[in-house]
Amino acid sequence: MNTSLKSPLRLSKPVNWGRLGTYVVLLVFAVVYAGPLLMLVNTSLKTLPEFMKNATALATGLNFKNFVDAWNKANFPRYLTNSLIYTLSATLVYIITAVFVAFPISRRYVKGAGVLLTLFVVALFLPPALIPQFQLMLRLGLYNNPVGYVMLFLVNPIGIVILVNFIKTIPKELDEAAALDGCGYFRFVTSVIFPLIQPAVATVAVLHAIGIWNELILPTIYLTNKNYYPITRGMIVFQGVYGSNWPTLAAAVLIMTLPMLILFLFLQRYIISGLTQGSVKG
């Protein structure tokens, strides 16, 4: 592993595409990526008059008033709670149903397993479901209804494909041995398979949760009651009202960004591997 990592580096030394050039490229990208984020942080620490006078000047001190303002005015506790409830409940239900779909398909314990798997792959190439989905929810009386909203997120075909592939790496002899010991199907999946596929479950859960947390279109379509708004939708409303007060708005954006940022820094490995797997398989 070590040698394979180092050899491109050794190779690059004698030629002019050297360390220096690489660092220049890395730094240019870094400025483009960090710049907008630093501007956000800097603005959130300034007062409005300071911002109006000079938008890019450095904040003179640590002024957290904007965060307090944003937190109080934006109805953030409510929006964040909603987002958290939607994300956790939908991800939990999805993962449970997904494992019970992926396991028998992967093991071919159900008839037509191949067809079912194809069904999940094909979904990626179907027309958007937006309009009929809305008509369906309307007829079911689930419009502007948190339960209906959560229901929309109980589906994620890429997650199924990732789980099916991972379960294939678990030896089948395990099933036989457990069955001989008198372990039933449900107990086997929940207490033997589930712990063994933790890495894949973590990957799928994190990807699914991020998708729900960031969703803007579906809450815009399905939720009209402000008390049901998730943070994304709430943020757009807040922007509509405080759009010209950038220091407060920037603080609000930061409050919304922080949970994702922390999650990302801790779970980066799962997120990236999941996204690359999903895209290559899809």
Partner: protein
């Protein structure tokens, strides 16, 4: 496959436990997807309980052939293609450069990779708001940078073409990290021995790239091109956050949303033209399908030529 967990009634257990997942999948995703075509031949609205009539091809005729509205639609169609072209090519090139640089494994590489990838997980709302601030026209950072070169821009509030160009830039900024990590995972599958051999043969950096890296990167090249093309043809969320529904800037995805659900979010009582929007989704879907299949065929031939098999 032999099933070990019992017979008779017990054999049904895996089927029963599989049902909820399949049920939701068919109900929420596959069923509605297929029904989109059916709805495109009707005058469905967003009003609960309103009757729906079969109107044949009227939605398509109106969308493609009738007066100013259809001219606007062709405008949106053209912008969708332009948006997709610039986003795909630039994001592909920058993603490759970033991946090559990060993959040199210099000190701090992981930190750089994390930084470039971060916007991907932040979502359209945060991406859009961060850039609205960065493009603050009255003395914001980008305005100051441009003024160094004697340039000036109204940014998102400027002419439609200008605003549109900035959305392209934000879209690339937001998603380049995804392209990069796919390239990185491709680069890591290239055996080190090949680089070693090329070095012994005295190849220079450009030759190594042209004869080792680029051909062996073909699978990631294909994945990235297809993902970028399909993704950018359907993308419109940043338009919503950055510009709103503005004449001269809409892409097809946004037209569908605006026709189906009204230009702003709102009350379901207004007559949203969902049949018409469904027809527009079918048009977009066919566009994605035709372009996707064409590119896919081309890429597969290229792959066979390069990698054999």
């Amino acid at each position: 496959m032999n099933y070990h967990f019992g017979r008779g009634r017990e054999r049904l257990v895996p089927y029963l436990l599989l049902l909820p997942g399949i049920f939701f999948y068919l109900l929420i995703s596959v069923g509605p997807s297929l029904a989109t075509t059916v709805y495109s031949f009707t005058d469905a609205t967003g009003i609960r309980g309103a009757p729906i009539h079969w109107i044949g091809l009227d939605n398509y005729k109106e969308f493609l052939l009738m007066g100013q509205a259809s001219r606007d639609n062709y405008g949106a169609l053209g912008r969708t293609l332009i948006f997709s072209f610039f986003v795909t090519t630039i994001q592909f090139a920058l993603g490759l450069i970033a991946a090559l640089a990060v993959n040199q494994r210099l000190k701090g590489s992981n930190l750089f990779r994390t930084l470039y990838f971060m916007p991907v997980i932040l979502g359209a709302v945060i991406q859009g708001l961060i850039w609205s601030l960065f493009l603050y026209p009255m003395g914001g950072p980008m305005a100051k940078i441009l003024s160094l070169f004697g340039a000036h821009s109204e940014f998102l509030g400027g002419q439609p073409v200008e605003a549109f160009a900035w959305v392209i830039i934000v879209q690339i900024w937001a998603n380049m990290g995804m392209t990069m990590v796919i390239f990185i995972s491709g680069l890591q599958t290239i055996p080190a021995e090949l680089y070693e051999a090329a070095r012994i043969d005295g190849a220079n950096a450009r030759q190594v790239f042209a004869n080792v890296t680029w051909p062996l990167l073909t699978p990631s090249v294909n994945t990235n091109l297809l993902l970028n093309i399909i993704g950018s043809l359907q993308a419109w969320q940043l338009f919503l956050v950055l510009l709103g529904y503005r004449n001269g800037t809409q892409v097809l995805g946004y037209v569908i949303y605006a026709q189906g659900f009204g230009q702003t979010s709102g009350s379901v009582t207004s007559a949203f033209r969902q049949g018409y929007a469904a027809a527009a989704s079918v048009v977009l879907f066919l566009l994605v399908l035709v372009i996707g299949m064409t590119v896919q065929t081309f890429l597969r031939r290229r792959e066979e030529r390069i990698l054999g098999s």
